[in-house]
Symmetry: C2
Subunit: 623 residues, 2 copies
């Protein structure tokens, strides 16, 4: 036994002669980068070592420059211990070297995927040692790692005999945290999901999914480099069975096999995205070994095939909020069948894993400064807090912002008016510069802000009659007001301007829908401030998540009173932060574990039961 | 908190007021019988209790006689703690009360299945407590059991919301030791494989399989009573692809998808047995929640779909000898999909889980007296030892005993001659009293013993010419000797007697095959004695396992020298002891754990590498 001392950590361990420095590092709990799984080919595990070591191998001669070798650099997976050794692990060889920085994320995290490789050599059998392949692998593991071999999945067991023979004893194990079928909530124990012969060309890939009610996005990444290889999105095929969450819950409960149908549809869409992204990147679907999924609570239930029925009626209870960890095969997902799938935890029935993703991506729950994160989609989720305490709530008043339930509303697609200016005359911009077909969420906020500024509506939201506008000298606007019995409306784009000769008209009811929506969001934000005992002055950063948050003009949002004025806060659009959070959880077991911790620690406020919410809501309806 | 003291164990625990005595017993680790899972309906959990307890419930009034109530009897699952309590757990309420005593087993074991039920009440949600169903279940579990809720399988998660609502909060969990997809070797942690609403009519069933090369037998049992409900057997459908183990290994390796085909065939046969036995017993296949499987090492590999290729050539190495624990769904078995399947561990490439089953059923490894267990099928496995040391070996020379490779041989089926007497004239008995079609293993041993006794063959196994017999005055026998060139044979049944007018003739080669077989078995037994340093006088009990062991006449076996004379040993035919061992492992987690321990502790002797085996083999060929 020889002593191996690691710096800068100062940890010392004892290993037998013949072990590598990497073996010693694993035994000592010192994390050294090993992209190739210890095969000597990636040259990432470089350390500066002195003492009793064998001469450098040819792989070290290939992987290190003569200058490096002269300075004592060695590859930890190659250098064989023959006496006491002193090792310095330079910064660049530590596992935390590579950081995840996803588009939309404002936070860095160390690359530490929960699926990884480990190279190991299984001794040959003989008539004197007739132990089975698994038994010899177990002994080799114990000798190298000083711990019990993690259990193998059936598939890995089936791969073992040929991998051992094809690799002439040198095999690579793919190890995953989490468990095949039964674990949830917490990161499960390590197990082996694949055994490859040495030299197999397999890569180690993962995919993160953001399952929206409307759109599903998948991000394919290389787990060993953190590199994003491809992105692909699809319309959520469940849309066919209902546009919004409530109609899907209804479908799942009403129709025979409704739940199974919705589960199959979403799993089919995710599988299609796996096929699309791997083909885009020129890699194999069978190398996708890790998957994360975020979505609202209903989407998480439907993805797992768990009934969300109780979510639709008071007291709005989910079946499961825990993160759930399963094998892809159990779900029917088209990756490597033993890929470990983590459906991230939800916070409550109406604040889902997508909001958890937003928190993971922004790190709002770990910062000293008070933050507000808003994700407005079909539903509006709001989270406020800082290190120590985070509070979330949700309002169901959001559909106006996605263009639903409005006569002039549409999704943020080609032909949608996404910004409006009313300044004597009316001008607007459409997505794709096409002829206007309707107004999307951000356009609607702009529109109402401008209507308010120009006097087209008053503080109660009442649209003014043409005569009143004429009296104000707003003749051009007055001409656009249509009086149809008691219903008044405003022509945003004329039939000459509109696509297909159809005008885009905003009705009094459309304005009322927006008022309801913004009132609910505003009241929710105020309840959060009240709950935390803070004022608008205390808030330092506003994260606007989701497509709506990315496109909304903050000044218009403030003009309509969607949120209070936060005099000391900067506004940060974070794009698809839910998806970024899912990617970070895929690439770091620290982040994944944080998700479970987070949902346990944070508070959820149910607004529907609170009289103070009703009061504030009524007030907040006024502009 | 109140103190509850249990006698006779003397364990004391503290529980909150409002808990039941059963809760307290679980917390204290005192095992009390609860067939109904704590619902108050089975009245098995009777204890004698005094101290601070609520009045008896109506379920106790129903389940206990007035005399019992007067003597202080209570049902532990009903009696609610309100102060300090003293409890006596009578013998009949202890979990170990029911013993397993399977046909063919010579050992009793306590009933302690590794799948069991637990009744629990999940509090209702409200707007003040909107926690999800799983979260409320977890809290209820923690309060009742003072431990973490075991993880739920996906299927159990999917059952949870409706079970909680259908049962108005009262649900029964089906808990299993072992893991869904990844565990092997050791008993895995507890997990929940089913959630039923209170009052669901489900039973808790298990099935034990003995997978022979030729025949597959399944034993359906009630896990809560130990009662055997049905037995059914089938020809192993793999027979179509090869009669013996070696030809199946060859098929698995040679044909495209050969391994998958053999796996599918055997799983199909086991599923058919599940259907047959449950239908026979009038119960549901979906209530079969636990499965054990024993077979020789190749059968275990093929059942799991793991390549047995390396078993067929030196050094005869298996891929896996560990017990493997999986969900039925992963294997495609037609039970409850989350049923836990244990393929029992093997000892070596040619001494399989069936031999482990023989040891479990006989308990030979736990006794003080020296035992020899012999299981002769296509292969001959021999185990010798006592508490402290057990040694096993295997010889490949067995097919003669199953009637294979013999001109006159056949399986022990209708029309097989199973006993022979030669005493001037020739008489025999056939299975089913039918016209003879051939000779089965036990008949062959009888036949050769009688041929030897009557002088038809000499000590070297040479069949005597007709003239020599006439000279000995054995005229009737001499007429039955046929000389065909240099090949001599003996007519056992004439064409008038034989089925379909075909005679049953034993050739010189048939006698040679038997000599090879018995020589190998005898030599193996001698090597075992040599290895243990014992003599034939030291052996106290001989267990003869398998159909052959059940039907063989011990005096004939001794006459041909299949085994040495053991002057101090009793001979115990144990029938299908492998199957009995599988049943015991199904009904007792203690026995199951013993299996893993056993294979680690015992020694296996590879005979093919030993010159002393060759010497003894040559000697043992002589009669």
């Amino acid at each position: 036994m020889h002593r191996v001392r690691f710096q800068p950590s100062g940890v010392t361990t004892r290993v037998e002669a013949g072990k590598t420095l990497l073996d010693a590092a694993i035994a000592a709990g010192v994390e050294i980068e090993t992209v190739c799984g210890g095969r000597g080919t990636c040259a990432k595990c470089r350390v500066i070592a002195s003492g009793g070591l064998d001469e450098p191998t040819h792989l070290e001669e290939r992987g290190l420059t003569p200058e490096e070798r002269a300075r004592g650099y060695r590859l930890a997976c190659q250098a064989v211990v023959r006496g006491d050794v002193a090792v310095v692990v330079p910064d660049e060889s530590r596992v935390s070297r590579v950081s995840i920085l996803s588009e939309g994320a404002v936070r860095e995290a160390p690359l530490a995927p929960w699926v990884r490789r480990h190279a190991i050599t299984v001794p040959e059998p003989s008539l004197e040692d007739q132990s089975g392949d698994l038994e010899r692998l177990r002994r080799a593991w114990r000798a190298a790692c000083d711990s019990d071999l993690p259990p193998l999945s059936l598939r890995a067991l089936r791969q073992l005999p040929s991998a051992v023979r094809d690799g002439e004893g040198s095999v690579t194990l793919v190890l995953a945290n989490g468990t095949g079928a039964a674990g949830h909530g917490q990161m499960g124990p390590l197990h082996v999901i694949r055994v490859e012969p040495d030299g197999a060309p397999n890569r180690l890939l993962g995919i993160a999914f953001d399952v929206g009610t409307t759109t599903v996005v998948g991000y394919l990444v290389d787990l060993e480099t953190g590199e994003q290889l491809a992105v692909s999105s699809l319309l959520n095929p469940q849309t066919r069975y209902g546009d919004d969450v409530v109609s899907r819950i209804d479908y799942a409960g009403r129709e025979a096999h409704g739940l199974q149908t919705l589960q199959r549809e979403i799993v089919g869409a995710l599988s299609a995205i796996i096929t699309a992204t791997t083909s885009q990147a020129g890699v194999e679907t069978d190398d996708v070994v890790a998957v994360t999924v975020v979505g609202n609570t209903t989407m998480q239930h439907l993805f797992l095939g768990i009934s969300p029925a109780a979510l639709a009626q008071s007291p709005y209870v989910p079946a499961v909020t825990d993160g759930v960890c399963l094998s892809a095969e159990v779900l029917g997902l088209g990756s490597y069948p033993d890929a470990v799938v983590w459906a991230l935890p939800s916070i409550a029935g109406w604040v889902g894993a997508d909001t958890v993703g937003v928190l993971l991506a922004t790190g709002a729950h770990l910062q000293d400064e008070l933050a507000l994160a808003i994700d407005i989609g079909t539903n509006g989720e709001m989270v406020m807090g800082s290190r120590g305490r985070v509070v979330a709530c949700s309002t169901a008043a959001g559909p106006a912002f996605e263009g639903a339930h409005l006569s002039c509303g549409m999704r943020a697609a080609d032909g949608a008016i996404d910004s409006v200016s009313i300044d004597g005359s009316v001008t607007w911009h459409t997505i794709g510069e096409s002829a206007p077909r309707g107004v999307c969420g951000s356009g609607l906020v702009d529109l109402v802000a401008e209507m308010l500024r120009s006097g087209l509506i008053d503080a109660t939201g009442m649209m003014q009659p043409g005569e009143a506008l004429e009296a104000m000298g707003q003749r051009a606007l007055a001409e656009r007001v249509i009086q149809n019995g008691r219903q008044r409306s405003f022509t945003l784009a004329t039939s000459e301007e509109g696509a297909g000769g159809r005008p885009v008209v905003v009705t009094q009811r459309d304005v009322r829908e927006l008022q309801l929506a913004k009132g609910a969001i505003r009241a929710g934000i105020e309840i959060l401030m009240h709950e935390l005992g803070v004022t608008a002055e205390d808030v330092r950063v506003i994260y606007l998540a989701g497509a709506f948050g990315n496109y909304i003009r903050p000044e218009s949002a403030l003009a309509i009173g969607l949120m209070p004025r936060f005099p000391n806060a900067r506004i940060v659009p974070v794009g698809n932060a839910a998806g970024s959070g899912a990617r970070m959880a895929l690439l770091s077991r620290v982040i994944l574990a944080e998700a479970s911790h987070l949902v346990r620690e944070m508070d959820y406020l149910e607004l529907s039961g609170r009289p103070d919410f009703q009061d504030r809501f009524a007030e907040a309806m006024v502009f």
